[in-house]
Assembly symmetry: C2
């Protein structure tokens, strides 16, 4: 069945060309079937005239039979994460995948989650092999962005979570607004001396910081702490302890990726009563001593939900072209106790 699928997909993809298919040997390898099984599938396809043999050159699809081929009911959507080669998902990516699955499971969709080879040509070849109808790409890195440009000449690619830049095939949230909201939260409580704790820099963090600054006119720049992200967590903690102890602090704004370092530092300094606002990457709150007081919904679950629906819409309605980028509003809410602790 999978060989049949493969052949029919190949036909659909290369509409008017009689392209050659993989050799029998390669098919066995690729689909994990025995020779007799592969031969049986190929024989049936030849009998139905979807395939023919060019002696000495292998088997080819008969393009003119395309119309006779049964319609494929399910759309295939590939999910790609980060730079594409990533095979390990942290709590953030798991929460994205959770929402993608929750939305797409109701739709006639098959989902592919595969790490791509990070080499450009290998990635292209792999995507061709998996042959998705569309790609949902979560926070592509630089390499990913370059590849997306090429891929979009053939299939739709919706990105999730990039800094808004007007791309109508992007679904994301307003990071600048997330920074503004966070600043307002502290200001509305008359908390003034707020440490802005930042580890890895990047375009997203930059946007948040810009929003923060714009809504916090009197913000004391000396309270902006940038970790040099040492490899050794202990030295990060030591550095942060020194920073926190040298200042009077009313509140802390941080990112979940940095939370374990912050938690360890707070324990050492004993400054555990300070209000903390953080975005939420669930797994980083596991067994920390001090939980945040409020959660910045910097990447609300509406983002993956909307991205999944947009992709499906694009796939089933060939005339549909999204007009503008979808930017979900961030929010702030009391930190809920984690489900598992």
């Amino acid at each position: 069945m999978r060989i049949r699928q493969y052949v029919l997909d190949l036909m659909r993809e290369h509409r008017n060309t009689d392209v050659s298919i993989l050799s029998e040997r390669e098919l066995c390898r690729k689909f994990g079937v025995t020779r007799p099984t592969a031969r049986k599938a190929l024989k049936a396809l030849i009998e139905e005239d979807y395939l023919y043999v060019k002696p000495g050159r292998g088997m080819f699809v008969r393009a003119e039979r395309l119309e006779a081929a049964p319609v494929r009911r399910f759309k295939r959507i590939m999910v790609v994460i980060g730079d594409g080669g990533l095979s390990c998902m942290d709590g953030f990516f798991m929460s994205v995948l959770e929402k993608l699955c929750g939305t797409l499971k109701h739709l006639p969709v098959h989902l592919q989650v595969v790490p791509l080879d990070v080499d450009h040509d290998c990635a292209v070849a792999e995507i061709e092999m998996y042959n998705p109808d569309g790609i949902l790409w979560v926070r592509p890195g630089e390499k990913g962005k370059k590849l997306i440009g090429e891929l979009r000449e053939k299939i739709p690619v919706v990105t999730l979570g990039l800094v808004p830049d007007g791309d109508p095939y992007a679904v994301t949230c307003d990071y600048t607004e997330a920074g503004r909201l966070s600043a307002q939260w502290f200001r509305s409580r008359a908390l003034k001396k707020i440490v802005f704790l930042q580890d890895r820099p990047g375009a997203i963090r930059e946007s948040v910081y810009n929003g923060w600054r714009s809504a916090f006119p009197g913000y004391d720049e000396s309270l902006h702490y940038r970790d040099r992200t040492q490899e050794n967590e202990q030295s990060s903690v030591r550095e942060l302890v020194a920073f926190l102890e040298s200042r009077k602090i009313d509140g802390i704004f941080t990112f979940a990726s940095y939370y374990p370092v912050l938690d360890a530092a707070l324990k050492q300094t004993g400054k555990t009563g300070i209000p903390i606002l953080s975005d939420n990457n669930y797994c980083n709150f596991y067994q920390v001593a001090t939980l945040p007081s409020v959660e910045l919904r910097m990447f609300p679950s509406e983002v993956p939900e909307a991205a999944a629906k947009l992709m499906f819409r694009i796939l089933i309605d060939p005339g549909f072209k999204p007009k503008k980028e979808k930017v979900i509003r961030p929010g702030i809410r009391d930190f809920p106790p984690p489900g598992t602790s």
Copy 2:
């Protein structure tokens, strides 16, 4: 950083042996980095004495330095589906992955979702490369089961959804009970002539049917319909229409995988008022004309949740050995309207 991770993982894995690492060239390929980057990472590791060079034989980890290596905070759990080579998830697998992600995102876990090469030796090599701490395997096929036996000599593998057989590392549900419950639902409503519609046979369907028979003493065997699962859906529908039209029917028990065929057949026969009980594979209810009246929770979401927690427990508590198989009770509930239609 990934090269460093790879080297430290290798050290942890081969405790007392100075094993050799991949060549510089292979490292570049595998982690998608340039030569200078790889060299920099290797140089640092050599300086810290985690690696040393055997002239002419490559680089080796220094096993005796294991204790100095920083502890890895995150456990790595690999999710494998079906025969392992599967790269397309339908609604069932998406709903499983949704719950796995929802549970694991709170825990210090990194999740890997990778299709394995179905060739036995390649699969073993790939698992070694990804180097997970544990594997969650959803409904392994025969090849998968064989592999699991071998893998368990090295790492824990928890299976999900197999027919219960006493394996303490399995989480599943009682399929026989699911059949019994379904029979009781019809009997308690004094519905007697129930079609038991079954497509692909298999151990799970067999268990359900056994339960069904045991709780339905007067069940008319001629109402047990086995589809020969033609490749062409139209002929499946035609056959089912003939079957349904030749009988008086009070109710239908079916599986979601077969639902689209049933829906088409019901439309043709006009028998759309008959109560239908079905298990739930969400995507198969997309835009059907007749929805089921009740849902058999044959694979409750407690299964993936419990499996994820069991795996995590095993990983963090080296002394913990599960005593018995976890079998979740199936249930029946009114069919909820799908979230998306």
